[in-house]
């Protein structure tokens, strides 16, 4: 996976498809406020999908580290967590920009916005924790344990709590209570771009992460 390149080509092809056809595909006219901004669905939403996948991979390596404490597993876990968190920040920033034009203000205290902010702060603490320790083994072990905690905090903050109250996110009105867009409701033409977008953005995240890991391994070898 580190040096194979077929998936990098796939990533470039998918991203170029999303960044061209994503603007060209016919989208449903939902209301006067939404207009063309529904195309953000190809860019804002995959940030969150990508973040979940990258952080899940980070969790897997954190668990692997606890079973088999090698420096490699720690590099993988921290690099995937870093890229995942970056995706989250891009998601929350693009969300605020979109919200400014759709909901009237960048931050309206929407339960999903608040939950995402808390989740990202928990992941920021992961990097603070890592930075506070000089002993490699201790840092790797404690951060692996914290990583597991941080990942499972994503469930209440992103998946459960926002569903208990009304949300401005699609599907969050009335009794529906689901702030994520319902897969069944997505227009089929948009699906043709949305799913490739999720794969493309995630692969881009993996690519950046592998570069980070390879650099870390090189530094380790050299020191």
């Amino acid at each position: 996976m580190l040096r194979a390149y077929w998936w990098k080509i796939l990533c470039v092809v998918l991203m170029m498809y999303v960044c061209t056809y994503g603007f060209y595909v016919e989208v449903p006219r939902l209301d006067d406020r939404m207009q063309q901004t529904i195309r953000n669905f190809f860019f804002h939403v995959p940030m969150w999908f990508g973040m979940m996948i990258l952080l899940l991979v980070s969790l897997v390596y954190a668990i692997k580290y606890l079973g088999n404490p090698t420096a490699k597993n720690d590099f993988y876990a921290s690099a995937y967590a870093a890229t995942g968190t970056m995706f989250g920040f891009l998601g929350i920033t693009t969300g605020a920009l979109w919200a400014n034009y759709q909901w009237g203000q960048p931050w309206s205290g929407d339960p999903k916005q608040n939950g995402a902010a808390i989740a990202l702060l928990i992941y920021l603490a992961y990097f603070v924790l890592r930075g506070s320790m000089n002993d490699d083994e201790k840092r790797a072990r404690i951060s692996a344990v914290y990583n597991i905690f941080a990942f499972f905090m994503l469930f209440p903050t992103l998946w459960i709590l926002p569903r208990l109250t009304q949300s401005l996110h699609p599907g969050g009105q009335g009794s529906a209570g689901n702030p994520g867009i319902n897969g069944k409701d997505l227009d089929w033409r948009m699906r043709l771009v949305f799913y490739p977008a999720v794969i493309g953005w995630t692969l881009l995240g993996v690519w950046i992460t592998t570069l980070k890991i390879r650099l870390q391994i090189l530094i380790e070898k050299h020191s």
């Binding site: 040096r3 990098k8 080509i9 470039v12 092809v13 991203m15 170029m16 960044c19 061209t20 056809y21 603007f23 060209y24 690519w207 950046i208 570069l211 390879r214 650099l215 090189l218 050299h222």
Partner: protein
């Protein structure tokens, strides 16, 4: 290096397909004659994004190659 160049060229040429498609639809509308000014100038946005993506991917590939080289030869 050569394989990556070939791949990039293949991608760029496959993208020309979109322009070819756009060309036919423009032909159906007699009002706009300029491709880039059709469809509310959305193609201008597409072009900007494509340039950014090509730039980013080029950069990413360059860093990737540099790392591969260092891994093979080692840091001197």
């Amino acid at each position: 290096m050569n394989t990556m160049k070939k791949i990039l060229t293949a991608i760029v040429f496959s993208l020309l397909n979109f322009y070819a498609n756009a060309q036919t639809s423009v032909g159906a509308q007699p009002v706009t004659t300029d491709l880039m000014r059709s469809n509310g100038k959305i193609l201008v946005v597409v072009a900007v994004i494509v340039i950014i993506m090509i730039g980013f991917f080029g950069y990413l590939i360059k860093v990737d190659k540099k790392l591969t080289k260092l891994e093979k030869e080692g840091i001197k």
